[in-house]
Amino acid sequence: MAECHEADQKRWNNLRKVLERAGPFCHPEFEHDSDLLTFILTSCPILIIGAGGLGCELLKDLVLMGFQQIHIIDMDTIDLSNLNRQFLFRRKDIGCSKAEVAAAFINKRVTNCQIIPHFCKIQDKDESFYREFCMIVCGLDSIVARRWINGMLVSLLEYEDGVLKTTSIIPLVDGGTEGFKGNARVILPGMSACVECTLDLYPPQITYPLCTIANTPRLPEHCIEYAKVMLWPKENPFNVPLDGDDPQHTGWIYEKSLERALEFNIPGVTYRLVQGVIKNIIPAVASTNAVIAGICATEVFKIATNCYVPLKNYLVFNDVDGIYTYTYEAEKKENCLVCSQIPQTLTIPDPTKMKLKEIIALFTESSQYQMKSPGLTTMIDGKSKTLYMSAIKSIEERTRKNLNKTLVELDLRDGCEILVADATSPNTMVVRLNYLSADVEMK
């Protein structure tokens, strides 16, 4: 055992140098000694969300930066198109859980480490699970999942007499890539800008107006969208919803798109483009993932050991033209939906005209909320009343008629609270209605 320990010490000689020696640029609170290495090796559990391009890199990077207690969570399985960058996977692994294969690979390759996989959605885990970690690192391509975990970490914060307890903060390090561009950020929930504070950094997805698709197509994308959103539901060729991973489905869309393109003389419909449009494919290479994951892992190391001041707080990377990095401090939004603790109010100019569906449209379309399919409930005379909910079919049918009713018709009074639940957050948001024409006669 002693011999093994000594050999292990030798293995980590590189880390020991930067952890056991003082340095002129170190964090003022850096305490250089051998306990630090022991701490990250044994008592600093990290959760990695996503076992894809970034996740595989993060796992390798963190393990070799001394973090031996890592959990990794991902609901996806391995696909052939992952193999150009997700380097822990082989051809024989196609169809298996990403988290499980990645964890098994690392446990085998790197002596003494304990990677625990979770083959499930992040929403399947509750507070008690997330509370166990010193830090959470995200390598996701989904904004919804990012917002969800952000909301979860904010909900774990504890306040004492209105003062944030620093022990309740679980730092979130988040990376993202697209082609040769990427970003990395450090979030200290409750203290620095959170995902929701900077929601406008995520560009809205490109959409094409329905009338262009239906009547005046000009681009190959218009032809593909036509086949996808108009022809598929109408002709329902395989009696199932469109699945971008099914080559038969993609083939059908390709053929119909090509027919449409021929009719209008539109050049440029290719099979690759069709796949890209149907699945909303984001180009990806090994190198950018390596860069962004490396930057994130370095920040995790800084935060865990206090060796240097961590990134404040957003880094942009681009190597399309030369190599470019830029860091800046994204600002906390004073009235952030998630981390500000300021109650949200919704100002309604005229509740006799404003319909429920317009409020829902506001939640889904405005850059401030960007919700997916919010469910709305309220309390009327001490009883809970569902205003609208699309997630459950029977409730949707029952509440659909409310959409066209005005707020007054729904008995919603000035100052009443609406509870909004959405996939983008683990928590329910409370919105208080504020009527500008306050003395509206209620029916």
């Binding site: 030798k10 790197v110 984001i282």
Partner: protein, 534 residues
């Protein structure tokens, strides 16, 4: 239509596996990558990370040159060397585990030091498309740099130490056709349209259209109409100044008609025309950078050894001389309009682009015949791509690293004016190289040698700066910091540098995207970086 319905093409395994990257550099970029032979000198953590990001996207083959054996420290930072391999040749172990990443890639290794190879098999490195070296001592770097400069083989030199990193590119000449610029203005030619375009655009009189017709006209046609109107009001003068442009915007704005309710609204396509004013009215000029390329000696004095790039440049030059403008790109941005009007316009642009690239291709064929070289060296498809991207053409001429070390002192004074400049890190790294050459060990390698090594390294960097005639002083902290690292290589820092260096190699191999010119410094302490041309 009687033609049979289209059938979807059969996708190959490869195109499925590489799908996400083919969207970035295309099948033609992938072919270049798959034909590439890469040499890595020293399978350090950084070296292995670079190769990883080249093997995954599928280079043809790699060779690792490394005379070291695996140490315990290696297994703590290099993912491709596991604990059981301590004591074995590093070249062999790294090659074996890297090969697992991609069955399409070939790999071998030479278990010898680079010094040994340089002194025994001079031309060994010539057969590679690129050589990458990590942790090279000066005594290897200088002869290697000279040799590869002469052999015209690109060299990438990298180092990762503690929280500091360095990447340097040495390439004699590198040419890029597809630079993939982030923002590119559309190529419209509304000032000085060619005859077919002019005839087409003049067919539409905006003032005579009813409301329905108005809403279907492409913005391009609208803008052209108002440029003409402007000229009528201004004795035929072309709009040039900002106020001219404002006047055109105003004219478009005021052309708004009333809808059925009597409300004046400006349709989407008219709004688009207003947005197009800025770029649509600028006369098409030949970018200075491109003019330089077309006047370059390599373009005007072709030889049998000229590369396809320069032969195509010579062909393009003839077109530019004949037409006094660049070939039309042939693509249009999307514009609100009915399908027919848009497609008709698009076809006019495409047809022009095609006829111009045919002209260039004929000239290229003639040049190739005159030079007496193989006819099929350049395909019509290549010329088409070349013409389409002619405004992005890029030529980079680098410098020889050995020259900088031996002959020309770099002029760093300008950079060193700023006390926070990352150029100071370059000075420290050069000092570190010299320290390694003199003492054969990293400064601060042993715990009790940190302080004495700080003094030694300070003397070395002080000498370097005075050799370069720099009056600035390197702060002691910077020297101390690098001695604190004691030669430690940290995995996450090497992972960042590995990804970046691999992508620079991919740029050089595919001739797409503009590479680093020529020195990159990464400071992981502050998460910042800088590039310098040395």
């Amino acid at each position: 239509m009687a033609s049979p319905p289209p059938k979807s093409p059969e996708q190959t395994e490869k195109s499925k596996k590489y799908d996400r990257q083919l969207r970035l550099w295309g099948d033609h970029g992938q072919v270049l990558l798959e034909n590439a032979k890469v040499c890595l000198i020293n399978a350090t953590t950084l070296g292995a990370e670079i190769l990883k990001s080249l093997i995954l996207p599928g280079i043809g083959a790699f060779t690792i040159v490394d005379g070291e054996t695996v140490t315990e420290e290696d297994t703590g930072s290099n993912f491709f060397l596991d604990y059981d391999s301590v004591g074995m040749p590093r070249a062999r172990v790294a090659t074996q585990s890297l090969l697992e990443l991609n069955a399409d890639v070939h790999g071998d290794y030479i278990d010898e030091t680079p010094e040994h190879i340089l002194s025994h098999t001079q031309n060994f490195f010539n057969k590679f498309n690129i050589v990458i070296g990590t942790s090279l001592p000066e005594k290897v770097l200088i002869p290697l740099s000279k040799h590869l400069w002469e052999a015209n083989v690109p060299l990438i030199v990298c180092r990762s130490i503690g929280f500091l990193g360095y990447i340097r590119l040495q390439v004699k000449e590198h040419t890029v056709i597809e630079a993939h610029p982030d923002n590119e203005n559309p190529d419209l030619r509304l000032i000085n349209p060619w005859p077919e375009l002019k005839v087409h655009l003049e067919k539409t009189d905006i003032s005579k259209l009813d409301n329905k017709e108005r809403s279907h006209v492409p913005a391009l046609t609208i803008l052209y109409y108002f440029i003409k109107k402007f000229q009528e009001h201004n004795n035929g003068a072309l709009p040039r100044s900002r106020s001219d442009k404002d006047e055109i915007r105003k004219m478009i704005q005021e052309s708004a008609v009333c809808d059925e309710n009597g409300v004046q609204i400006l349709e989407d396509n008219f709004q688009e025309a207003i947005h197009l004013v800025n770029i649509g009215i600028n006369p098409q000029i030949i970018p200075t950078q491109l003019k330089k390329i077309l006047e370059d000696d390599c373009c005007t004095h072709l030889t049998q050894d000229s590369s396809p790039f320069w032969i195509m440049c010579a062909g393009l030059r003839e077109l530019v001389q004949a037409e006094e403008s660049l070939p039309v790109r042939g693509t249009l941005p999307d514009m609100a309009s009915d399908s027919g009007s848009y497609i008709a316009l698009q076809q006019i642009y495409q047809k022009k682009a095609l006829s111009q690239s045919e002209f260039v291709y004929r000239r290229v064929c003639q040049i190739v015949t005159d030079l007496g070289i193989q006819q099929d060296i350049i395909s019509e498809q290549e010329v088409k791509l070349f013409c389409k991207h002619c405004s992005e053409l890029y030529v980079m001429r680098g410098s020889c690293i050995a020259d900088e070390y031996e002959k020309n002192s770099p002029d760093l004074s300008v950079y060193l004016e700023d006390p926070d400049s990352l150029m100071f890190s370059y000075v420290v790294l050069r000092g570190l190289e010299r320290f390694l050459g003199e003492y054969n060990v990293y400064p601060g390698h042993l715990d009790d040698q940190v302080e004495p090594d700080v003094l030694k390294l300070k003397i070395i960097t002080g000498k370097l700066l005075s050799e370069w005639r720099c009056t600035q002083i390197l702060r002691d902290e910077r020297v101390h910091e690098v001695c604190r690292y004691g030669g430690a290589e940290l995995h996450s820092v090497s992972a960042v540098l590995g990804g970046i260096a691999a992508h620079e190699a991919i740029k050089l191999l595919t001739h797409q995207y503009k590479p680093l010119n020529n020195t990159f410094i990464y400071d992981a302490i502050t998460s910042s970086s800088a590039t310098y041309t040395l």
